[in-house]
Symmetry: C2
């Protein structure tokens, strides 16, 4: 009996693969070793498991495939650039992967209305560079720019280093096209800034991590390229001064404030100590360091404005030390220091957190987390940095022990305090699988129930990215 | 039989009113004349029809009421400030109205994290003024500020005059609380700029015109108050020059560009001719007039920047004439001219349109609409103005005939061309009842189907604002 069952399963699987090949062509369907040689994603040691990897070339192909899978109750996991950090693209042997790697065309750039229409598999950096050729700018920017896709950015509502000025991915998308679980193509390729003709359907798909539909195309909003850039790096003696400095920069730079990044001393020390290549601009004696940047339209005037703001901060004794630059090479050095996250792995396996909380709660929260970690694992390393202007901290813990129980304990220490202070377990990385057990720290039962209602309405058979965000 | 039926109905209605009074108190339930003396809304000649007007004082009361109505299949229409323009708050004798007029508290202003938590019945102007007392700013601004409520702004995703800089209501709300049709309270009172812990539920309610839930509270994002303001008014000889001028201002003012309003000659003439009080800054000979404004952080430097940008536009022959001011009284005069929409009623009943479309399509579109109107009704008046920087035009037609057939014909002329060019029948006013017949000009069958799926998931009995947006 068992062997007959296995044969039937084998047979039905072969039949599905055959049907998929008839839709996508042989090169559109990968199986066997072509799957297992692929990495499961950035920072993961395992390779992909799946029944097949599909590589459609058009929205219509995606629709055909989904219709078929829907009828067959076949689960689908969508793949972009696989740079996520919460195992949001994880698949099992019985899943089929739909990769958008062959749907990466830039379809149109509209210079007058400042939009770009793309297929969702387009790589972020390609989009940025294409905008530049038209003297325009796609403001989304993050470390994974060279491999992450716009589809993935949309699925996770990616943030990055310019949110304070330009917003998250949600704010940079004016329209999108998605294929629903049953294969229905919903094209909402709106190009307009304002459109209140019925529900804003794109909002459903942005940030829903591939669980409500597969985003196939999008209209992106572009901006004029800035013509000036000013960057400063400051050492600060108290968190109160950091908060006051942020407010001062908001007030003095207005719409030009582009980044306000914080490093706690531990992170600063990490990225300015060999083998890290960056030289420390200041000594390690200060508790906080801030990288602040403005983008504007006139280098001379904006430098004056920026220096004037810094001068006010110094006069008000907010800064212990500061350097300021508008040279590209100096600026790059500062950002390379900030972005040298490879150093985080120096002390063995790490757990990467991405929380957000009110700025006024941050100091006490970080102190509390750190105290608990030190009490429990005296030899641990904990690094704290992030996008302070967005209320977003990255906390990276290297406990010195690679053990799943320890991981759970640390997660509890980091996530548990967030509920009482209205913080979020995920500022910009999403929930995926890794943060699923902690979703209730940030969202109520009623909220999660409503998410389930939406999921049920759009994907009643639960075939799209099953097991992600909530059960 | 009929009279028994009526008696039963009468009886069941009395029973409902009794139950409602037991929840809300006598003053919480208006009936009879207390309803019929109330106007149905701004610009409407009829008064309200409804079974009762409920005036809850807390989210819990809203929840109790909805639970009751849900069980009784009782339809509910939510009322804010009744300043909408698409009959989105229209009710019939059998509907119950839930007015948020007694839920207008400012609950908290958080100066450090720059948020304000309010009840949805709070009036926009009160919110603006409260923000000012903390040296902060709630950027949403529109003509109805003195009577429209934040709940209504959220329900319609209101736009207004600062969208180009600060975005629509959607961009200004960081969290909200809503009561679903069945009485479930979903509190997503998130205060953070970044929060990707599961679906962003607030997006469902923003812009859904009261059809998916009743918004009871919200967390608003505040901004630092600008410290400089510069305003210019320009006459322009061609639409190509208007587009080039907008691009130049985006490039030269960057994040400081706050408004870019256009008037076609007909509107300019209307608001500068008696009985209008404004004096015309220039002659009426030009086809286009633009009001442009920047908000910044340093009056001296920003005036220099603004003047320099204007000078470039003059050098490039984009402007036929221009005046520039940073005096409050001069600025107010320019805005009073722009805002003198009362003049629109000078030639009898009007039809007000609020469309959005690509800037590159605007000139041909307006010419085409105007040509059709003139061919059909030679004596008509048509006024065109709007938020050009947002791609949003208001077209106001006074045909000289008050006839529903004529109205339908004019609507067809204005809306029909939008489908081919991807425009929207509603940029910022919503759909309500008035634009429902034209929704298919802007949205596909698949999109409308998906809206219905969402509606069905959240309000399966269709008791919330029935008959609005789509059938």
């Amino acid at each position: 009996m068992i062997s007959t069952g296995t044969r039937n399963l084998q047979h039905s699987m072969e039949k599905i693969i055959e049907q998929l090949k008839s839709i996508l062509g042989d090169s559109g369907v990968l199986t066997g070793e072509d799957i297992s040689i692929r990495s499961a994603g950035w920072g993961l040691s395992d390779n992909i498991a799946a029944k097949a990897i599909l590589r459609p070339q058009s929205t219509e192909e995606v629709s055909h495939v989904l219709k078929m899978c829907h009828t067959a109750n076949q689960t689908i996991v969508t793949h972009g650039g696989l740079t996520g950090l919460v195992r949001g693209s994880f698949s099992r042997e019985n899943d089929i992967i739909l990769s958008l790697e062959r749907m990466n065309r830039i379809e149109e750039i509209d210079e007058i209305n400042r939009t770009m229409t793309i297929q969702a598999g387009a790589v972020l950096q390609t989009v940025q560079e294409t905008a530049e050729t038209a003297n325009l700018m796609f403001p989304l920017d993050l470390g994974a720019r060279g491999s992450c896709t716009i589809g993935g950015n949309i699925a996770t509502n990616a943030g990055g280093i310019r949110v304070i000025r330009y917003g998250m991915t949600r704010d940079l998308v004016s329209g999108l096209e998605a294929v629903l679980a049953d294969g229905t193509i919903v094209s909402s390729l709106n190009k307009m800034i304002k459109n209140n003709s019925g529900y804003d359907l794109k909002q459903l798909f942005i940030g829903s991590e591939g669980t409500l539909g597969i985003v196939t195309r999008a209209v992106l909003r572009l901006q004029e390229q800035p013509k000036s850039q000013n960057t400063a790096f400051a050492a600060i003696n108290s968190f109160g001064a950091v908060i006051a400095f942020l407010k001062l920069m908001h007030r003095e730079l207005g719409g030009n404030l582009n980044a306000f990044e914080i490093m706690w001393r531990d992170f600063y020390r990490l990225v300015t100590t060999p083998p890290a290549k960056s030289q420390p601009p200041f000594s390690e004696e200060y508790p906080f360091y801030v990288l602040v940047e403005s983008l504007g339209t006139d280098q001379v005037k904006d430098t004056e404005q920026f220096e004037n703001a810094l001068q006010q901060a110094i006069t008000q004794s907010l800064l212990a030390d500061a350097i300021i630059t508008n040279s590209r090479s100096e600026r790059n050095k500062l950002w390379q220091m900030r972005d040298d996250v490879g150093q985080l792995f120096r002390y063995g396996p790490v757990i990467i957190f991405d929380v957000s909380l009110a700025i006024s709660d941050m100091e006490a929260y970080v102190d509390d987390v750190r105290r608990q970690l030190n009490d429990r694992w005296p030899g641990n390393h904990c690094f704290v940095f992030g996008h302070l202007g967005d209320g977003n901290l990255h906390i990276v813990v290297a406990p010195g022990i690679d053990d799943v129980k320890v991981r759970r304990e640390i997660e509890k220490i980091v996530y548990s305090p967030l509920k009482a202070i209205g913080g979020s377990i995920s500022a910009e990385h999403g929930v995926g699988i890794d943060k699923k057990p902690y979703l209730h720290h940030s969202r109520s039962e009623m909220e999660i129930d409503l998410m389930r209602r939406i999921k049920q309405a759009l994907d009643p058979k639960n075939i799209l990215n099953p097991g992600k965000i909530f059960d």
